[in-house]
Symmetry: C2
Subunit: 410 residues, 2 copies
């Protein structure tokens, strides 16, 4: 077995045992691009080894999707295999777990006619709505992992040839998912325990407000009374824990829609629909962005903010230590799964219902009453750095340190 094969096997073991946490007799559904077949086969072996009853793989081929987007009649773009979505929902209701391998060419669809692309996206989103809601509300176990594609690797490492780039990206993925630790499974248990303890502490403190301060950021964010800090260890409806993202470094909650004031400056470039927005700042008053600037990508930032009313407000607050495995690679991944876990971030747009008490059972109106933002978009942007301090303000107005110099202060 080569060194790479060993790591691939460890990665698969980790994803099956910790990410999906497969249970005896459970069915595993894997959504994967055909280019990931080697990983899929290893995952499948590990799933059976851990007691899975069945592994059902739905392969996709983005080059076929491109051909469809380019050449099918409009009617074809509006067609969705509802029988497939229905079958998958049925599997989810019977406690199947869902694993998604995100590995694509980041710029493949950049030349597709915007209207055709929008129609196709809408068809897919509405076709998969029931399954996605079931999943996002943690009714079933699910996890998103990644692996390199040639095109993605060459976007990160334009100076390397295809094979070197892919190998380097694999090494980074193995490193940031702790596969290269001596005992990856133990490392994850420790890691999750740490994240859980941070979330637990923050939930105990019930802070009213957060104060962000660095050389270029001066921001206060109010939190809903009933907010919950979460780490990325969820539980499905049978109370089986699972990790929805690998890697994950964040502890997160939602802001009060109208409770954000001050200025925040980005610390990493934001890849939005194939365009980079770099060194940008946002000024908030009573929750709303009232001013913005950007060294590059200003027009794209403006468009993002114009998406809808909710795009001018925050929907997520996430705390990630500056000294994390992903951050320490000093690589911009142009991929949210990695970049959002490299740095404290905020998100413009929709707020996650699970971040307030009983939120997943609330109607849209109830969520709004509780101060949660609503939008069709949700875009993370990175604001962490080695000189970021964050304080929590208690109900009595006392300030307590949460982050100092970019890292946890408690």
């Amino acid at each position: 077995m080569t060194h790479f094969e060993e790591n691939l096997k460890k990665y698969a073991q980790l994803v099956i045992q910790v990410g999906i946490n497969i249970q005896k007799g459970q069915t595993l559904v894997i959504h994967a691009p055909i280019t990931s077949s080697r990983l899929v086969r290893e995952l499948s072996k590990q799933a059976y080894k851990s007691g899975a009853k069945n592994v059902h793989v739905e392969y996709s081929d983005e080059d076929l999707t491109l051909i469809k987007y380019l050449h099918s009649p409009l009617e074809g773009l509006k067609e969705f295999p509802h029988w497939k979505a229905k079958g998958l929902v049925e599997l989810a209701k019977n406690n199947a777990a869902f694993l998604y391998i995100a590995a694509s060419n980041p710029t493949l669809f950049q030349d597709i006619d915007a209207e055709r692309l929008a129609i196709a996206m809408k068809t897919n989103a509405s076709g998969m709505k029931e399954l996605n809601e079931y999943r996002i509300n943690s009714q079933c176990s699910w996890s998103i992992i990644s692996m390199p594609t040639i095109e993605w690797a060459s976007q990160i490492f334009p100076e390397l040839d295809a094979k070197e780039g892919v190998n380097k990206l694999w090494d980074l993925i193995f490193k940031t998912t702790r596969v290269t630790d001596d005992n990856p499974i133990q490392a994850w248990q420790n890691h999750i325990q740490l994240l859980n303890s941070k979330a637990h502490h923050l939930n105990e403190r019930k802070y009213k407000k957060l104060h962000y301060k660095s050389d270029k950021t001066d921001l206060t964010i109010e939190l809903p009374n009933n907010h919950k800090w979460l780490s990325a260890q969820f539980q499905n409806k049978l109370h089986t824990p699972f990790i929805p993202n690998m890697p994950t470094e964040e502890v997160f909650t939602v802001p009060l829609k109208k409770g954000v004031n001050g200025v925040v400056r980005s610390t990493k470039p934001l890849n939005y629909g194939g365009t980079l927005i770099n060194n940008f700042s946002l000024t908030f008053r009573e929750g709303k962005v009232i001013d913005c600037s950007a060294e590059t990508g200003y027009e794209t930032l403006k468009k993002l903010l114009e998406t809808d009313e909710g795009a001018l407000h925050l929907g997520e607050i996430a705390l990630v230590p500056h000294d994390s495995p992903i951050s320490n690679t000093n690589v911009i991944f142009f991929n949210t799964l990695f970049d959002e876990n490299a740095s404290c971030h905020l998100a413009l747009g929709n707020a996650l219902p699970m971040c307030i008490q009983n939120g997943i059972n609330m109607s849209k109106a109830e969520l709004q009453e509780n101060g949660l933002n609503d939008s069709i978009t949700h875009v993370d942007f990175m604001i962490g750095s080695a000189n970021l301090d964050i304080d929590g303000e208690t109900s009595s107005g006392k300030l307590e340190p949460i982050f100092r110099k970019g890292n946890w202060a408690f």
Copy 2:
């Protein structure tokens, strides 16, 4: 565009326009191994170019199937995605066309426990029964085509390295499917017209019996009164013609189950479940095999004949000229799609209902009353050669030449 790419494109055009004969607004379903993605993408492009509304691809991965056969619990082997079969039947009822790319490693499952393999096969067969019946009764358009795999090529050309073997097999597939003809589509129209004219002539003559004679064969086969000779151009329920196999060289019908007498000797090896049966002979009395011999694979031949009662009787008679593109390659393909179209052949086992008048609307009992054989198996074996003569016997007992020295005599 390289020479190979040109041929691949011509192959895809031919399959879409002549094999599937896609109609404007029709949906095409492609079942394909992930290793055929390059061909699938070309087929998809050509389908949209020819007016398809949508191309739906179901990718499979036989290495994943192998992992399942090796490692899943018994319960998993008995599980079938009925929602998928149901969705596909629905598509078929809405006039979708079905294209199958047969490209596998011929010996991949040879070490799987026989009982586990049988359970998995039965699960698949019963899960796909409705779709397969719909298809075999030509309610929808369908076609089976092939392309090389490394393992298949190296079985045919063990002396070549993987890449050379695959290239050589591609060349043979392009040649035998007439892709390398000056005008492949015209060549197929001529070819189908010729096969149709042969079938038409045989149907006009309404022969009672066929007499096969060569240096080692002396066989008479009675035909049902209401038999039909068919070529491989079928029509779906909307009367759109399609070609179910590419390549195809045969004109075929069914024998009278109890009307076969004499001795027949094989002229090409038969690959049965991964074992070769070579230089074998079968002796028939009143339709039943009463004796057999084989230079190699005798035990396997015996097992085949013991499958069930119907495995001792014939279920198909096919006429293929010795001087056909496939036969002229002088290659044993170890693959029925090719080998059966290289030589006159017979099949032990089940008889095709469509080969008698109104057969597709008959019950099993009615088919038996009409003299058709019934079996769970259907195994073609090759008996054509350069010295095979076949005569047709008219109702008045007159003999007329059908084949002389292995080729059409009319």
